[in-house]
Amino acid sequence: MSRRFACTFLTLLVLVATVIVAWPGHTYATQDRDAIMAGSSAEHWTGTDDLGRDRTVRVATALLLGLVCAAAASAISTSIAAGVGTVAAFSPGPVASVLMLLSDLFLTLPWLFLLMIVRSSLPLNASPMHSAAITFLILAALGWPACARAVYNGALELRGSDWMIQGRANGLRTGQLVRQYLLPHLRPLLVPQFLLCVPAFLVAEANLGTLGLGVAEPLPSWGGMLLELDSSAMLARSSWVFLPIVLLVSVLLLLECLAYEV
Protein backbone atom coordinates (compact mmCIF):
# COMPACT_ATOMS: atom_id res chain seq x y z
CA MET A 1 0.00 0.00 0.00
CA SER A 2 1.65 3.21 -1.08
CA ARG A 3 1.76 6.45 0.80
CA ARG A 4 -0.31 8.16 -1.91
CA PHE A 5 -3.07 5.55 -1.63
CA ALA A 6 -3.17 5.89 2.17
CA CYS A 7 -3.27 9.66 1.94
CA THR A 8 -6.02 9.68 -0.70
CA PHE A 9 -8.15 7.14 1.16
CA LEU A 10 -7.80 9.00 4.46
CA THR A 11 -8.71 12.32 2.82
CA LEU A 12 -11.71 10.68 1.22
CA LEU A 13 -12.84 9.25 4.56
CA VAL A 14 -12.48 12.64 6.25
CA LEU A 15 -14.40 14.36 3.45
CA VAL A 16 -17.25 11.85 3.58
CA ALA A 17 -17.37 12.10 7.39
CA THR A 18 -17.45 15.90 7.19
CA VAL A 19 -20.34 15.83 4.71
CA ILE A 20 -22.27 13.37 6.92
CA VAL A 21 -21.74 15.47 10.06
CA ALA A 22 -22.56 18.74 8.29
CA TRP A 23 -25.66 17.32 6.58
CA PRO A 24 -28.78 18.92 8.09
CA GLY A 25 -31.02 16.54 10.00
CA HIS A 26 -29.52 14.21 12.55
CA THR A 27 -26.81 15.23 14.97
CA TYR A 28 -24.74 12.79 17.01
CA ALA A 29 -27.01 13.33 20.01
CA THR A 30 -30.42 13.40 18.27
CA GLN A 31 -32.60 10.55 19.48
CA ASP A 32 -35.19 8.80 17.33
CA ARG A 33 -37.33 7.14 19.99
CA ASP A 34 -39.28 5.21 17.35
CA ALA A 35 -36.12 3.55 16.09
CA ILE A 36 -34.28 2.18 19.11
CA MET A 37 -31.62 -0.36 18.08
CA ALA A 38 -33.02 -0.25 14.55
CA GLY A 39 -31.34 -1.92 11.59
CA SER A 40 -30.45 -0.33 8.29
CA SER A 41 -33.18 1.89 6.79
CA ALA A 42 -33.54 4.83 4.38
CA GLU A 43 -33.51 7.23 7.32
CA HIS A 44 -30.72 5.56 9.29
CA TRP A 45 -28.34 3.97 6.77
CA THR A 46 -26.40 1.95 9.32
CA GLY A 47 -29.10 1.75 11.96
CA THR A 48 -29.29 3.29 15.42
CA ASP A 49 -27.84 2.56 18.85
CA ASP A 50 -29.70 1.61 22.05
CA LEU A 51 -30.76 5.25 22.52
CA GLY A 52 -32.03 5.64 18.96
CA ARG A 53 -29.09 7.78 17.77
CA ASP A 54 -28.03 7.54 14.14
CA ARG A 55 -24.95 5.31 13.90
CA THR A 56 -23.65 6.83 10.63
CA VAL A 57 -23.53 10.32 12.12
CA ARG A 58 -21.98 9.06 15.35
CA VAL A 59 -19.28 7.06 13.58
CA ALA A 60 -18.50 10.01 11.29
CA THR A 61 -18.25 12.35 14.31
CA ALA A 62 -16.06 9.85 16.18
CA LEU A 63 -13.77 9.61 13.16
CA LEU A 64 -13.39 13.39 12.85
CA LEU A 65 -13.09 13.98 16.58
CA GLY A 66 -10.56 11.18 16.97
CA LEU A 67 -8.39 12.32 14.07
CA VAL A 68 -8.45 16.01 15.01
CA CYS A 69 -7.79 15.40 18.71
CA ALA A 70 -5.14 12.72 18.10
CA ALA A 71 -3.37 14.94 15.54
CA ALA A 72 -3.44 17.89 17.96
CA ALA A 73 -2.18 15.71 20.82
CA SER A 74 0.52 14.30 18.58
CA ALA A 75 1.61 17.81 17.53
CA ILE A 76 1.84 18.84 21.20
CA SER A 77 3.71 15.67 22.13
CA THR A 78 6.20 16.04 19.26
CA SER A 79 6.74 19.71 20.12
CA ILE A 80 7.45 18.84 23.76
CA ALA A 81 9.86 16.12 22.62
CA ALA A 82 11.63 18.52 20.26
CA GLY A 83 11.81 21.19 22.97
CA VAL A 84 13.05 18.92 25.76
CA GLY A 85 15.54 17.07 23.52
CA THR A 86 16.99 20.28 22.08
CA VAL A 87 17.18 22.09 25.43
CA ALA A 88 18.90 19.05 26.97
CA ALA A 89 21.42 18.87 24.12
CA PHE A 90 22.34 22.56 24.39
CA SER A 91 22.35 22.75 28.20
CA PRO A 92 25.10 22.04 30.70
CA GLY A 93 25.45 18.40 31.82
CA PRO A 94 23.37 18.55 35.04
CA VAL A 95 20.37 20.15 33.26
CA ALA A 96 20.55 17.52 30.51
CA SER A 97 20.74 14.76 33.15
CA VAL A 98 17.66 16.12 34.95
CA LEU A 99 15.70 16.39 31.70
CA MET A 100 16.64 12.87 30.67
CA LEU A 101 15.78 11.58 34.15
CA LEU A 102 12.38 13.22 33.70
CA SER A 103 11.90 11.44 30.38
CA ASP A 104 12.97 8.14 32.03
CA LEU A 105 10.41 8.82 34.74
CA PHE A 106 7.61 9.17 32.19
CA LEU A 107 8.84 6.05 30.37
CA THR A 108 8.72 4.14 33.65
CA LEU A 109 5.07 4.89 34.33
CA PRO A 110 2.68 2.78 32.27
CA TRP A 111 0.47 5.13 30.22
CA LEU A 112 -2.83 3.45 30.86
CA PHE A 113 -2.53 3.58 34.64
CA LEU A 114 -1.70 7.30 34.64
CA LEU A 115 -4.56 7.93 32.26
CA MET A 116 -6.87 5.99 34.55
CA ILE A 117 -5.72 8.00 37.56
CA VAL A 118 -6.36 11.33 35.88
CA ARG A 119 -9.62 10.30 34.21
CA SER A 120 -10.94 8.93 37.49
CA SER A 121 -9.98 12.18 39.24
CA LEU A 122 -12.00 14.36 36.88
CA PRO A 123 -15.04 16.15 38.30
CA LEU A 124 -18.18 14.02 38.09
CA ASN A 125 -19.93 16.78 36.12
CA ALA A 126 -17.13 17.34 33.56
CA SER A 127 -18.62 18.15 30.14
CA PRO A 128 -18.03 15.71 27.25
CA MET A 129 -15.86 18.26 25.44
CA HIS A 130 -13.76 18.74 28.58
CA SER A 131 -13.36 14.99 29.00
CA ALA A 132 -12.24 14.66 25.36
CA ALA A 133 -9.80 17.57 25.66
CA ILE A 134 -8.37 16.29 28.95
CA THR A 135 -8.03 12.70 27.68
CA PHE A 136 -6.04 13.77 24.62
CA LEU A 137 -4.03 16.38 26.56
CA ILE A 138 -2.94 13.66 28.99
CA LEU A 139 -1.98 11.47 26.04
CA ALA A 140 0.07 14.35 24.65
CA ALA A 141 1.73 14.88 28.03
CA LEU A 142 2.67 11.20 28.28
CA GLY A 143 3.76 10.53 24.70
CA TRP A 144 6.90 12.67 24.40
CA PRO A 145 9.70 10.91 26.39
CA ALA A 146 10.84 8.25 23.90
CA CYS A 147 11.03 10.81 21.10
CA ALA A 148 12.75 13.33 23.39
CA ARG A 149 15.55 10.83 23.95
CA ALA A 150 15.94 10.31 20.20
CA VAL A 151 15.91 14.09 19.59
CA TYR A 152 18.48 14.57 22.37
CA ASN A 153 20.85 12.02 20.79
CA GLY A 154 20.31 13.51 17.32
CA ALA A 155 20.82 17.07 18.55
CA LEU A 156 23.98 16.08 20.45
CA GLU A 157 25.46 14.69 17.24
CA LEU A 158 24.43 17.73 15.24
CA ARG A 159 25.77 20.15 17.88
CA GLY A 160 29.30 19.07 17.12
CA SER A 161 28.95 19.16 13.33
CA ASP A 162 31.14 21.48 11.24
CA TRP A 163 28.33 23.66 9.96
CA MET A 164 27.02 24.24 13.49
CA ILE A 165 30.49 25.28 14.62
CA GLN A 166 30.72 27.57 11.62
CA GLY A 167 27.30 29.03 12.39
CA ARG A 168 28.40 29.70 15.96
CA ALA A 169 31.64 31.26 14.71
CA ASN A 170 29.57 33.56 12.50
CA GLY A 171 27.90 34.92 15.62
CA LEU A 172 24.55 33.12 15.48
CA ARG A 173 22.85 32.78 18.85
CA THR A 174 21.73 29.36 20.14
CA GLY A 175 18.09 30.12 19.30
CA GLN A 176 18.99 31.02 15.73
CA LEU A 177 21.18 27.94 15.39
CA VAL A 178 18.37 25.72 16.59
CA ARG A 179 15.76 27.35 14.36
CA GLN A 180 17.80 27.67 11.19
CA TYR A 181 20.08 24.63 11.33
CA LEU A 182 19.02 22.10 13.91
CA LEU A 183 15.25 21.75 13.49
CA PRO A 184 15.38 21.25 9.69
CA HIS A 185 17.88 18.43 10.27
CA LEU A 186 15.69 16.87 12.97
CA ARG A 187 12.63 16.90 10.70
CA PRO A 188 13.19 13.30 9.46
CA LEU A 189 12.93 12.25 13.12
CA LEU A 190 10.02 14.47 14.14
CA VAL A 191 7.67 13.88 11.20
CA PRO A 192 7.52 10.05 11.61
CA GLN A 193 7.17 10.56 15.37
CA PHE A 194 4.16 12.82 14.77
CA LEU A 195 2.65 10.31 12.34
CA LEU A 196 3.27 7.33 14.65
CA CYS A 197 1.72 9.08 17.64
CA VAL A 198 -1.62 9.67 15.89
CA PRO A 199 -2.60 5.95 15.63
CA ALA A 200 -1.06 5.25 19.05
CA PHE A 201 -3.25 7.93 20.64
CA LEU A 202 -6.34 6.68 18.80
CA VAL A 203 -5.73 3.16 20.13
CA ALA A 204 -5.12 4.48 23.67
CA GLU A 205 -8.40 6.43 23.58
CA ALA A 206 -10.23 3.39 22.20
CA ASN A 207 -8.84 1.21 25.02
CA LEU A 208 -9.80 3.80 27.63
CA GLY A 209 -13.26 4.02 26.07
CA THR A 210 -13.79 0.26 26.28
CA LEU A 211 -13.08 0.63 30.02
CA GLY A 212 -15.70 3.39 30.30
CA LEU A 213 -13.01 5.99 31.07
CA GLY A 214 -12.74 7.69 27.68
CA VAL A 215 -14.66 10.59 26.21
CA ALA A 216 -17.93 11.16 28.07
CA GLU A 217 -21.34 10.63 26.48
CA PRO A 218 -23.09 11.85 24.40
CA LEU A 219 -19.98 12.85 22.45
CA PRO A 220 -19.12 9.88 20.23
CA SER A 221 -15.61 8.48 20.31
CA TRP A 222 -14.01 5.26 19.06
CA GLY A 223 -13.87 3.86 22.58
CA GLY A 224 -17.49 4.73 23.29
CA MET A 225 -18.61 3.24 19.97
CA LEU A 226 -16.71 0.00 20.69
CA LEU A 227 -18.65 -0.37 23.94
CA GLU A 228 -21.66 -1.28 21.78
CA LEU A 229 -19.92 -4.58 21.07
CA ASP A 230 -20.55 -5.56 24.70
CA SER A 231 -24.30 -5.57 24.14
CA SER A 232 -25.50 -8.97 23.00
CA ALA A 233 -28.92 -7.46 22.22
CA MET A 234 -27.30 -5.04 19.78
CA LEU A 235 -25.17 -7.77 18.22
CA ALA A 236 -28.21 -9.97 17.66
CA ARG A 237 -30.12 -7.21 15.91
CA SER A 238 -27.65 -5.71 13.47
CA SER A 239 -24.23 -6.43 12.06
CA TRP A 240 -23.74 -2.68 11.59
CA VAL A 241 -22.52 -2.71 15.21
CA PHE A 242 -19.20 -3.83 13.76
CA LEU A 243 -18.92 -0.70 11.59
CA PRO A 244 -16.92 1.34 14.18
CA ILE A 245 -14.30 -1.39 14.71
CA VAL A 246 -13.93 -2.03 10.96
CA LEU A 247 -13.54 1.68 10.30
CA LEU A 248 -11.16 2.17 13.23
CA VAL A 249 -8.91 -0.68 12.09
CA SER A 250 -8.93 0.71 8.53
CA VAL A 251 -8.02 4.21 9.73
CA LEU A 252 -5.25 2.84 11.96
CA LEU A 253 -3.85 0.75 9.10
CA LEU A 254 -3.86 3.76 6.79
CA LEU A 255 -2.17 5.94 9.41
CA GLU A 256 0.46 3.31 10.16
CA CYS A 257 1.10 2.86 6.44
CA LEU A 258 1.53 6.62 6.13
CA ALA A 259 3.93 6.72 9.07
CA TYR A 260 6.11 3.86 7.84
CA GLU A 261 6.22 5.13 4.27
CA VAL A 262 7.48 8.58 5.32
Binding site: L101, L112, S121, L124
Partner: protein, 285 residues
Protein backbone atom coordinates in the same frame (compact mmCIF):
# COMPACT_ATOMS: atom_id res chain seq x y z
CA UNK B 1 34.24 -3.93 42.36
CA UNK B 2 33.42 -2.12 39.12
CA UNK B 3 30.35 -4.32 38.55
CA UNK B 4 29.24 -3.70 42.15
CA UNK B 5 29.50 0.05 41.58
CA UNK B 6 27.48 -0.19 38.34
CA UNK B 7 24.79 -2.26 40.08
CA UNK B 8 24.74 0.18 43.02
CA UNK B 9 24.41 3.17 40.71
CA UNK B 10 21.61 1.50 38.76
CA UNK B 11 19.85 0.58 41.99
CA UNK B 12 20.14 4.18 43.17
CA UNK B 13 18.62 5.36 39.89
CA UNK B 14 15.71 2.94 40.36
CA UNK B 15 15.07 4.25 43.88
CA UNK B 16 15.18 7.87 42.65
CA UNK B 17 12.89 7.06 39.70
CA UNK B 18 10.36 5.26 41.89
CA UNK B 19 10.38 8.03 44.51
CA UNK B 20 9.84 10.62 41.78
CA UNK B 21 7.12 8.45 40.25
CA UNK B 22 5.37 8.27 43.62
CA UNK B 23 5.62 12.02 44.17
CA UNK B 24 4.52 12.77 40.61
CA UNK B 25 1.53 10.45 40.87
CA UNK B 26 0.45 11.96 44.21
CA UNK B 27 0.74 15.48 42.78
CA UNK B 28 -1.15 14.43 39.65
CA UNK B 29 -3.94 12.93 41.75
CA UNK B 30 -4.07 15.75 44.26
CA UNK B 31 -4.07 18.54 41.66
CA UNK B 32 -6.65 16.84 39.41
CA UNK B 33 -9.76 19.08 39.42
CA UNK B 34 -12.10 16.36 40.69
CA UNK B 35 -9.92 14.91 43.43
CA UNK B 36 -12.35 15.99 46.15
CA UNK B 37 -15.44 14.89 44.22
CA UNK B 38 -17.29 12.12 46.00
CA UNK B 39 -20.07 10.13 44.35
CA UNK B 40 -22.10 10.55 47.56
CA UNK B 41 -22.19 14.32 46.93
CA UNK B 42 -24.33 13.66 43.85
CA UNK B 43 -26.76 11.52 45.84
CA UNK B 44 -30.01 13.36 46.56
CA UNK B 45 -30.66 11.35 49.69
CA UNK B 46 -27.85 13.23 51.44
CA UNK B 47 -28.80 16.66 52.78
CA UNK B 48 -26.89 19.72 51.63
CA UNK B 49 -25.28 20.02 55.07
CA UNK B 50 -24.06 16.41 54.95
CA UNK B 51 -22.65 16.91 51.46
CA UNK B 52 -20.79 20.04 52.57
CA UNK B 53 -19.49 18.15 55.57
CA UNK B 54 -18.22 15.34 53.34
CA UNK B 55 -16.44 17.87 51.12
CA UNK B 56 -14.88 19.70 54.07
CA UNK B 57 -13.75 16.42 55.65
CA UNK B 58 -12.03 15.30 52.45
CA UNK B 59 -10.39 18.70 51.95
CA UNK B 60 -8.99 18.55 55.46
CA UNK B 61 -7.48 15.12 54.80
CA UNK B 62 -6.42 15.72 51.23
CA UNK B 63 -3.42 18.08 51.34
CA UNK B 64 -0.36 16.97 49.39
CA UNK B 65 1.62 16.59 52.62
CA UNK B 66 -1.00 14.48 54.38
CA UNK B 67 -1.54 12.30 51.26
CA UNK B 68 2.23 11.75 51.00
CA UNK B 69 2.51 10.98 54.70
CA UNK B 70 -0.38 8.53 54.48
CA UNK B 71 1.26 6.84 51.53
CA UNK B 72 4.71 6.68 53.11
CA UNK B 73 3.34 5.33 56.40
CA UNK B 74 1.29 2.77 54.45
CA UNK B 75 4.35 1.66 52.50
CA UNK B 76 6.46 1.53 55.68
CA UNK B 77 3.82 -0.56 57.42
CA UNK B 78 3.81 -2.83 54.39
CA UNK B 79 0.05 -2.49 53.83
CA UNK B 80 0.33 0.15 51.04
CA UNK B 81 -2.34 2.33 52.67
CA UNK B 82 -6.06 1.80 53.05
CA UNK B 83 -8.59 1.38 50.28
CA UNK B 84 -11.22 4.16 50.23
CA UNK B 85 -13.80 1.81 48.73
CA UNK B 86 -13.33 -1.38 50.75
CA UNK B 87 -11.75 0.17 53.87
CA UNK B 88 -9.15 -2.61 54.11
CA UNK B 89 -5.37 -2.50 53.56
CA UNK B 90 -4.46 -2.17 49.88
CA UNK B 91 -1.91 -4.99 50.21
CA UNK B 92 -4.75 -7.38 51.13
CA UNK B 93 -6.46 -6.47 47.87
CA UNK B 94 -3.37 -6.71 45.70
CA UNK B 95 -1.66 -9.83 47.07
CA UNK B 96 -4.14 -12.51 45.91
CA UNK B 97 -4.53 -10.83 42.52
CA UNK B 98 -0.84 -10.47 41.85
CA UNK B 99 -0.39 -14.19 41.17
CA UNK B 100 -3.30 -14.27 38.70
CA UNK B 101 -1.92 -11.31 36.74
CA UNK B 102 1.68 -12.54 36.90
CA UNK B 103 0.64 -15.92 35.44
CA UNK B 104 -1.28 -14.33 32.57
CA UNK B 105 1.58 -11.92 31.89
CA UNK B 106 4.23 -14.65 31.97
CA UNK B 107 2.30 -16.96 29.65
CA UNK B 108 1.19 -14.14 27.34
CA UNK B 109 4.72 -12.75 26.99
CA UNK B 110 6.27 -16.20 26.45
CA UNK B 111 3.70 -17.26 23.82
CA UNK B 112 3.75 -13.81 22.20
CA UNK B 113 7.51 -13.95 21.78
CA UNK B 114 7.36 -17.51 20.50
CA UNK B 115 4.68 -16.66 17.95
CA UNK B 116 6.50 -13.51 16.81
CA UNK B 117 9.79 -15.39 16.50
CA UNK B 118 8.33 -18.42 14.72
CA UNK B 119 6.56 -16.17 12.21
CA UNK B 120 9.45 -13.75 11.76
CA UNK B 121 12.13 -16.41 11.23
CA UNK B 122 10.87 -17.83 7.91
CA UNK B 123 9.54 -14.45 6.74
CA UNK B 124 12.89 -12.76 7.35
CA UNK B 125 14.46 -15.02 4.73
CA UNK B 126 11.95 -14.09 2.01
CA UNK B 127 13.03 -11.63 -0.65
CA UNK B 128 9.47 -11.04 -1.85
CA UNK B 129 6.06 -11.43 -0.25
CA UNK B 130 7.20 -10.58 3.29
CA UNK B 131 4.69 -7.73 3.50
CA UNK B 132 1.85 -9.97 2.34
CA UNK B 133 2.61 -12.80 4.77
CA UNK B 134 3.20 -10.35 7.59
CA UNK B 135 -0.16 -8.65 6.92
CA UNK B 136 -2.03 -10.54 9.70
CA UNK B 137 0.35 -9.04 12.26
CA UNK B 138 -0.11 -5.57 10.76
CA UNK B 139 -3.88 -5.96 11.05
CA UNK B 140 -3.58 -7.28 14.63
CA UNK B 141 -1.46 -4.25 15.49
CA UNK B 142 -4.33 -2.00 14.47
CA UNK B 143 -6.91 -3.72 16.69
CA UNK B 144 -7.22 -2.20 20.19
CA UNK B 145 -6.69 -4.85 22.87
CA UNK B 146 -10.12 -4.10 24.35
CA UNK B 147 -11.83 -4.75 21.02
CA UNK B 148 -9.81 -7.92 20.49
CA UNK B 149 -10.76 -9.21 23.95
CA UNK B 150 -14.44 -8.44 23.29
CA UNK B 151 -14.27 -10.29 19.98
CA UNK B 152 -12.78 -13.42 21.55
CA UNK B 153 -15.20 -13.28 24.45
CA UNK B 154 -18.18 -13.06 22.11
CA UNK B 155 -16.91 -15.81 19.84
CA UNK B 156 -16.41 -18.05 22.89
CA UNK B 157 -12.92 -19.02 21.76
CA UNK B 158 -9.69 -18.24 23.53
CA UNK B 159 -9.12 -16.34 26.71
CA UNK B 160 -6.97 -13.62 28.24
CA UNK B 161 -3.71 -15.42 27.48
CA UNK B 162 -4.56 -15.76 23.78
CA UNK B 163 -5.48 -12.07 23.48
CA UNK B 164 -2.31 -10.98 25.27
CA UNK B 165 -0.28 -13.35 23.08
CA UNK B 166 -1.73 -11.82 19.90
CA UNK B 167 -1.28 -8.25 21.15
CA UNK B 168 2.38 -8.87 22.00
CA UNK B 169 3.11 -10.97 18.92
CA UNK B 170 1.75 -8.17 16.72
CA UNK B 171 3.99 -5.60 18.46
CA UNK B 172 7.12 -7.77 18.57
CA UNK B 173 6.85 -9.32 15.09
CA UNK B 174 8.09 -6.29 13.14
CA UNK B 175 10.95 -5.71 15.54
CA UNK B 176 12.07 -9.35 15.50
CA UNK B 177 11.76 -9.62 11.71
CA UNK B 178 13.88 -6.49 11.29
CA UNK B 179 16.50 -7.87 13.66
CA UNK B 180 16.58 -11.20 11.84
CA UNK B 181 16.82 -9.52 8.45
CA UNK B 182 19.86 -7.57 9.59
CA UNK B 183 21.35 -10.69 11.18
CA UNK B 184 21.00 -12.75 7.96
CA UNK B 185 22.98 -10.10 6.09
CA UNK B 186 25.93 -10.15 8.51
CA UNK B 187 29.24 -11.00 6.73
CA UNK B 188 30.15 -13.85 9.11
CA UNK B 189 26.76 -15.45 8.41
CA UNK B 190 27.29 -15.25 4.66
CA UNK B 191 30.65 -16.91 5.17
CA UNK B 192 29.10 -19.65 7.32
CA UNK B 193 26.45 -20.26 4.66
CA UNK B 194 29.11 -20.43 1.98
CA UNK B 195 30.94 -22.89 4.22
CA UNK B 196 27.90 -25.20 4.09
CA UNK B 197 26.51 -24.73 7.61
CA UNK B 198 23.03 -26.22 8.08
CA UNK B 199 20.08 -23.82 8.73
CA UNK B 200 19.71 -24.98 12.37
CA UNK B 201 23.42 -24.39 12.96
CA UNK B 202 23.16 -20.99 11.35
CA UNK B 203 20.24 -20.03 13.59
CA UNK B 204 21.59 -21.41 16.85
CA UNK B 205 25.26 -20.54 16.46
CA UNK B 206 25.20 -17.35 14.40
CA UNK B 207 21.81 -15.65 14.31
CA UNK B 208 20.65 -16.08 17.91
CA UNK B 209 23.82 -14.86 19.65
CA UNK B 210 23.77 -11.87 17.34
CA UNK B 211 20.23 -10.76 18.09
CA UNK B 212 20.03 -11.83 21.74
CA UNK B 213 21.14 -8.49 23.24
CA UNK B 214 18.46 -6.64 21.25
CA UNK B 215 15.86 -9.26 22.19
CA UNK B 216 16.64 -8.52 25.85
CA UNK B 217 15.82 -4.86 25.23
CA UNK B 218 12.54 -5.99 23.71
CA UNK B 219 11.66 -7.67 27.02
CA UNK B 220 11.11 -4.31 28.75
CA UNK B 221 9.03 -3.03 25.84
CA UNK B 222 6.94 -6.22 25.89
CA UNK B 223 6.31 -5.80 29.59
CA UNK B 224 5.16 -2.18 29.15
CA UNK B 225 2.82 -3.24 26.33
CA UNK B 226 1.55 -6.21 28.34
CA UNK B 227 0.87 -4.09 31.44
CA UNK B 228 -1.21 -1.64 29.41
CA UNK B 229 -3.07 -4.43 27.60
CA UNK B 230 -3.78 -6.44 30.75
CA UNK B 231 -6.32 -3.91 32.11
CA UNK B 232 -8.93 -4.14 29.32
CA UNK B 233 -8.27 -7.87 28.95
CA UNK B 234 -8.88 -8.63 32.64
CA UNK B 235 -11.90 -6.33 32.76
CA UNK B 236 -13.55 -7.84 29.67
CA UNK B 237 -12.82 -11.47 30.63
CA UNK B 238 -13.71 -10.73 34.27
CA UNK B 239 -10.37 -12.05 35.54
CA UNK B 240 -9.74 -11.16 39.21
CA UNK B 241 -6.28 -9.71 38.61
CA UNK B 242 -4.46 -6.48 39.37
CA UNK B 243 -5.66 -4.88 36.11
CA UNK B 244 -9.28 -5.43 37.03
CA UNK B 245 -8.58 -4.08 40.52
CA UNK B 246 -7.04 -0.92 39.01
CA UNK B 247 -10.06 -0.46 36.75
CA UNK B 248 -12.51 -0.93 39.64
CA UNK B 249 -10.45 1.54 41.69
CA UNK B 250 -10.56 4.06 38.84
CA UNK B 251 -14.32 3.69 38.45
CA UNK B 252 -14.87 4.13 42.20
CA UNK B 253 -12.20 6.84 42.69
CA UNK B 254 -10.30 4.59 45.07
CA UNK B 255 -7.09 6.52 44.59
CA UNK B 256 -4.91 4.79 47.24
CA UNK B 257 -5.42 1.49 45.39
CA UNK B 258 -4.79 3.11 42.03
CA UNK B 259 -1.62 4.76 43.35
CA UNK B 260 -0.29 1.49 44.79
CA UNK B 261 -1.01 -0.43 41.56
CA UNK B 262 0.60 2.29 39.41
CA UNK B 263 3.73 2.26 41.54
CA UNK B 264 3.82 -1.52 41.44
CA UNK B 265 3.69 -1.43 37.65
CA UNK B 266 6.33 1.30 37.53
CA UNK B 267 8.57 -0.84 39.76
CA UNK B 268 8.06 -3.85 37.47
CA UNK B 269 9.00 -1.81 34.37
CA UNK B 270 12.05 -0.24 36.05
CA UNK B 271 13.30 -3.58 37.38
CA UNK B 272 12.85 -5.27 34.01
CA UNK B 273 14.88 -2.44 32.43
CA UNK B 274 17.46 -2.92 35.18
CA UNK B 275 17.78 -6.64 34.44
CA UNK B 276 17.64 -6.39 30.64
CA UNK B 277 20.26 -3.62 30.33
CA UNK B 278 23.12 -5.49 32.07
CA UNK B 279 22.14 -8.56 30.07
CA UNK B 280 22.50 -6.43 26.96
CA UNK B 281 25.90 -5.13 27.95
CA UNK B 282 27.17 -8.59 28.89
CA UNK B 283 25.65 -10.20 25.80
CA UNK B 284 26.93 -7.59 23.34
CA UNK B 285 29.56 -9.03 21.00
Amino acid sequence: MRIAMIVLRKFGRIVVLLSLAAMGTILLMRLAPGYFADAREMDVKYAQATRSELGAEEKAQGSVASTTLHMISGFLHGNLGESRQYEIPVSDLIRPRLRVTALILARGIAYGWLLAFCAALPLSTLHKGGTLFGAPFTVLLAVPSGAMATFFLLSGRGGPVLVLTLVLAARDFKFVRQLLRSAWKAPHLLQARAGGARPDQLILRHVMPNILPNLMALATLSLVTALSAIVPIEVIFDVPGVGQLAWAAAMNRDLPVLLAVTLLMAAAVTLSGFTSNPARSFGAP
